[in-house]
């Protein structure tokens, strides 16, 4: 089940030779978990910085550029500040759930990260129901937001949590169905096999029209799923103050904040994997150097992340009823029709194979 990284082949062999098999397996899992935690933290901090620089670029500002080279250490400094802050909370909060909520959010996004195929060998958890796992995990995250809003015992937080619940449950459908459209081509849910299929051309090319529609729906629904503008109903700072995390401070707030950015990256990573060939290079130009797959994967994902930031800094926010109208009256029927169209294309072998 767990594929050891080829770079760490030596460590793997050494572990198995020096201790019992079960022990080695356990140690190896812990090591991999630590590596992913590190990736998680670095990616989160880096994405926050990117977001701030992109926002500054859109808004005629310079953005953070003082701490470290071009502000690279800025978010590190912010995280340190947040760590050192006192954790204030409300007296009347439901203490247990209130403290549990941030971990729900952050653990789910960490789990989703595990199945992302960064490159052929850099893929911690390659299960045969990869896509299903991703969808299932990402819908657990909303429980954290709901719990946080509910247990804070704050009306603004409760409205935010309520909105977030409504929104995520609705857009979950679109995310699932748009990915299902693509699975009609691949015929598998396993992410490594989905990438394998794309050696004959990225799925967005193979599936042409319905794939492009599915991609657009996925990006809209994915943005909504991560509670980002123009779908940031749950926070809506001009309406609800800070929304569901109004009562959180210090590192607990930072967990929500980090999880939002990681979720954004995960949405971009899923789109990269399912539509843009994951770590495959365009036209196979660097096929001979497998390690460059990481570069291609991250480059594609970052372009999509930039797209989501572009949405955020240029669009006004939708109203909560318009949000639901968009999903239930437009995206969902379109999605269902799109699936039928894709099924017809796959049935008649009209996919484009390069």
């Amino acid at each position: 089940m767990i594929k050891a990284l080829s770079i760490t082949k030596g460590i793997h062999d050494w572990l198995y030779s020096s201790m019992s098999e079960n022990m080695a397996y356990l140690v190896e899992m812990i090591l991999i978990a630590l590596v992913y935690l590190a990736i998680f933290a670095i990616a989160g901090l880096f994405l926050v910085l990117i977001e701030r620089r992109v926002a500054a670029w859109f808004q005629l500002r310079i953005g953070p550029n003082r701490v470290g080279f071009q502000g690279l250490l800025q978010t590190m400094a912010d995280a340190l500040k947040l760590l050192s802050k006192e954790l204030t909370g409300t007296e009347k909060a439901d203490k247990f759930l209130y403290n549990l909520a941030p971990y729900f959010v952050i653990i789910t996004s960490l789990m989703a990260l595990a199945v992302i195929p960064f490159t052929q060998d850099f893929h911690a958890f390659d299960i045969n129901i990869g896509i299903l796992f991703l969808i299932a995990i990402s819908s657990i995250g909303v429980i954290g937001i709901l719990l946080g809003g509910w247990s804070s015992n704050n009306k603004f937080a409760l409205i935010g949590a309520m909105r977030s619940g409504v929104q995520t449950i609705s857009y979950e459908l679109s995310v699932g169905l748009s990915l299902l459209t693509m699975i009609l081509i691949t015929g598998t849910l396993q992410l490594s096999e989905i990438v394998e299929v794309q050696k004959n051309g990225w799925l967005i090319v193979q599936g042409h029209i319905p794939a492009i529609i599915a991609f657009m729906i996925f990006m809209i629904a994915g943005t909504a799923e991560t509670n980002r503008a123009p779908f940031d109903m749950a926070e809506a700072e001009s309406e609800l103050g800070a929304g569901f995390h109004t009562e959180y401070s210090g590192m607990k707030f930072a967990y929500f904040f980090l999880a939002e950015f990681i979720n954004m990256f995960i949405i971009a990573a899923i789109a990269t994997t399912v539509f843009f060939g994951a770590w495959l290079s365009p036209f196979g130009i660097t096929e001979s150097i497998p390690i460059l797959g990481v570069f291609w994967f991250l480059a594609k994902a970052m372009i999509l992340v930039f797209l989501m930031m572009w949405f955020r800094w240029t669009f006004p926010r939708l109203r909560v009823d318009q949000l639901l109208t968009l999903e239930w009256k437009y995206l969902l029927p379109l999605n269902l029709m799109n699936i039928v169209l894709m099924a017809l294309i796959v049935w008649q072998n009209l996919t484009i194979q390069l």
Partner: protein, 373 residues
């Protein structure tokens, strides 16, 4: 608490929520007592007085020159127009004819103030509906106006440039050039505003048909300024009772008939164009002459009642002075546009969502010190 039974067996309960006095959308210390059913607003009750500083009472203590300085602190975004209102009231009472140069400069600076206020409003409007970038665009252009003001009179916001009888100082030699530069700059920027926000489909969805105010209601609530004009109520004081040099210029009164949030938005955008055109007509023809006529060091108004109305960026500002012939007014009342415009909030926001309330409030363009005084 009142319970309403919906057609299904679900029970919904109205609840009460405090919006403000510290809330990002109230733009100051306004407190709204909201009664909400889920997301739908049942009742909005503004609670005022968090920034009340007894300006009207202080006016009874002060001399007329000093009163001018207090008016800056009311609607600080149209500070110069407020100053002008008091000066005009005093000058009319004294039957003092100010030089043409003063009139023209007052009008130019008044219109610049209006543009600067609308720039800020536009940025904040975008922010309230969730488009954060507009804020910085609005402030970029406002900055140029503030720089002009700073060079002219040393202050950027609370200007105190007017005194009864004229202006505090003459304009700076660079003034004309900088204003012309600004006109050229800003003419390219309003279309940019339109590209960023006005044409956005989400923005249309958020604002069209939201917070509709009919013409009859606008009149009966005493709405003025862009709020009244968006409902088709022609209420521009500049047009109906021109003061200073406004009778020498031609401009169109921006009127829309929809009365919704988007109409109020469009009126303000159009007003920026009109203000630019007014400045353009005047900037090349500033007459030579004195910038001030001498008044007595202690101004004593004749016994009687005096009223002066001007159009600030928010609507009609009235200054009502009762004088007993002494150096202080017996009573001074400001009719502030924000107060009347706020009074109709409950009327137009009920039945909408929380997001609608925020969008509606953004287009009422409230400045809280103007309401509380």
């Amino acid at each position: 608490m009142e319970e309403t039974i919906v057609e299904t067996n679900f029970k919904s309960e109205e609840y009460f929520i405090n919006m403000g006095p510290q809330h990002p959308a109230t733009h100051g210390v306004l407190r709204l007592l909201l009664t909400i059913d889920g997301e739908i607003i049942k009742k909005v009750e503004p609670d005022l007085g968090y920034i009340h500083r007894s300006i009207e009472k202080m006016c009874e203590r002060d001399s007329y020159q000093q009163i001018v300085h207090l008016t800056d602190r009311m609607d600080y975004l149209s500070s110069n127009i407020n100053n002008e209102a008091v000066c005009l009231a005093v000058e009319n009472a004294l039957q003092l004819e100010v030089p043409d140069r003063v009139k023209v400069i007052r009008t130019i600076i008044g219109e610049l103030t209006r543009i600067s206020s609308h720039c800020l409003w536009w940025g904040v409007m975008g922010m309230d509906v969730g488009a954060l970038t507009t804020y910085f665009y609005g402030f970029r252009d406002r900055e140029m106006i503030n720089d002009i003001f700073e060079e002219t009179c040393g202050a950027r916001l609370t200007m105190n440039y007017n005194v009864p009888g004229g202006l505090m100082f003459d304009i700076h030699p660079n003034f004309i050039k900088r204003v012309k530069d600004f006109i050229v700059h800003f003419k390219t920027k309003i279309p940019e505003y339109d590209r960023l926000l006005t044409g956005n489909v989400i923005f249309h969805k958020r604002t069209k048909g939201v917070g509709v105010l009919t013409k009859e209601d606008a009149i009966s609530f005493g709405a003025s300024g862009p709020v009244g004009r968006a409902s088709g109520y022609s209420c521009d004081v500049r047009k109906h009772r021109p003061y200073s040099a406004l009778d020498k210029v031609t401009f169109n009164e921006a009127i829309k008939t929809d009365g919704d949030t988007f109409a109020r938005y469009e009126v303000r955008i159009q007003e920026m164009w009109e203000s630019l055109s007014i400045i353009e007509q005047l900037i090349d023809n500033i007459p030579e002459g004195e910038y001030r006529v001498a008044t007595n060091a202690v101004i004593k108004l004749p016994k009687g009642e005096f009223y002066q109305r001007v159009e600030t960026a928010r609507g009609e500002l009235g200054v009502y002075i009762i004088s007993t012939g002494t150096k202080n007014p017996y009573r001074l009342k400001f009719r502030s546009p924000g107060f009347s415009n706020l009074s109709l909030l409950n009327h137009i926001a009920v039945g909408g969502k929380i997001g609608d309330l925020v969008a509606t409030m953004a287009t009422l363009d409230l400045v809280i010190p103007d309401i509380d005084r």
